[in-house]
Symmetry: C5
C-alpha cells in the first residue's frame, strides 16, 4: 500500500454512477523519509479519513475490494488511518 497525507477533497458532479456516494480525497504521497513525493492521487475513502490524516492507500483490485464495488470504476481506496509510524534503520 502507499502512504500519503490527505490534502484535499474533490467534487465532481459529472462522474460515473459507480463513484456516487464516495468521498473522493486527494492524497499526497510521501517518500521513505516522510517528505512530500510530489505525486498525488484521488482515492475513495472507506474508513472516515479527514484532511491532514496520514493514510494507507490500496490500489487496483484491492481498492475495489476495499470499497466493495467489484464492478466499479475505482482503482484507489483509503484503507487505514495511520496512528503512528515508527521509522528507524
Amino acid at each position: 500500500m502507499l502512504i500519503g497525507k490527505v490534502t484535499g477533497n474533490i467534487w465532481a458532479t459529472r462522474k460515473l454512477d459507480g463513484l456516487n456516494g464516495f468521498k473522493l480525497m486527494i492524497v499526497s504521497l510521501v517518500n521513505s523519509d516522510g517528505a512530500d513525493s510530489k505525486s498525488a492521487m484521488v482515492a475513495v475513502d472507506t474508513v472516515g479519513a479527514g484532511i491532514g490524516d496520514m493514510v494507507l492507500v490500496a490500489r487496483g483490485g484491492a481498492a475495489r475490494k476495499a470499497a466493495m464495488i467489484h464492478e466499479g470504476p475505482v482503482d484507489a481506496a483509503i484503507v487505514g488511518i495511520v496512528d503512528n509510524m515508527e521509522i528507524s534503520g
Copy 2:
C-alpha cells in the same frame, strides 16, 4: 485514481476494434501541488470531457469496467470531471 488536465485528442485510424467509438483523450497528469507532472496518458472518455477539463482517470481493470468493455484493450478511462478541488494541509 489519477488527476490530470485534458490537453488534447488522438486520432488513430489503425487501431483495435475494441477502441472504436471511444474519444481518445490526452490527459496530462498533475502533481500534488497541481503543477504539470510531465507525465501523460491517453484515456477513453466515458463522461463527456472536453479539452481543458480537470478529470479523474481510472486505470487497469477499473478502466474496462468504466468503459463497459470487459474484453477491450483499454487500461485508462476518464471517469469524472472535477468541478472543484479543495486543497489544504
Copy 3:
C-alpha cells in the same frame, strides 16, 4: 494507455512460447509535451506498427486481451497507430 514512439525491434530466440509469432517492438514513451520521457518498454504489435510510428500501448490485462492470449506472458501491446495528436490547453 501510454503514448510512445516505436524506436526499434527486439529479437529473442530463447523466449516463452506464448511470445512466439509476435513482433516485439521497443516503444520510447513520451511526456505531456511530446518529448522522450527516457522510459522504454517492449510491446507486442497487434496493429502492424513500424519504426517511427507514434503508437498507443495498453498494459496489463488489457494487453493480453489485445493480443488475444489470455494465458500468455504479455503485459504490453501496441493497440493503435496515432494519425494525429491535437494538443492544446
Copy 4:
C-alpha cells in the same frame, strides 16, 4: 518483485477488517546500485520480517495470494527475506 529495506512499522487502529492481524511494515525501496530510491510502501508481512531486513515485496494480485486473503484490501506483501545478494556485471 521489488527489493527494499524494512525501515519501520505502521499502527492504524482505524483500518479495514481485512488488514487486521497483519504486521504493516514500511519498506524503503532500493535502486539497482542498492541505494535508497526514496520510494516507500507499506506491505503486510507474511514471512516474519524485522526492521533492517532486506526483503522482497510482491504487489497487486500476487500480494493477496501471498497473504491468502483473495478478497482483502492488500496490494503489497513481504514474501521473502534476502539472505544474500550477489551483484555483478
Copy 5:
C-alpha cells in the same frame, strides 16, 4: 514488458513456498537509450537467463502465467533473453 540487464542473484531462505524452486534474479532496467535507469526488480527466471543477459520482464498476472503458478506470490518473471536490439529513429 520491461527491458533490463540481469545484474545479480538473490538468495532468500525465509520465503513463501510459492517462490521455492525459482531462480530469483536482479534485473536492472534500462532507459530508451539503453542506459541503466537506476530502477531494479527481482524476477523469477523462466528461460534460463544468466548474469549479463539483456532480458524481457513481464509483470503482474503475466508473470504468474509465465511461471505457471497462478496462485503464487510472483509479480515479475523473465520471459525472454534478448539476442539483438535494433534501435533507430
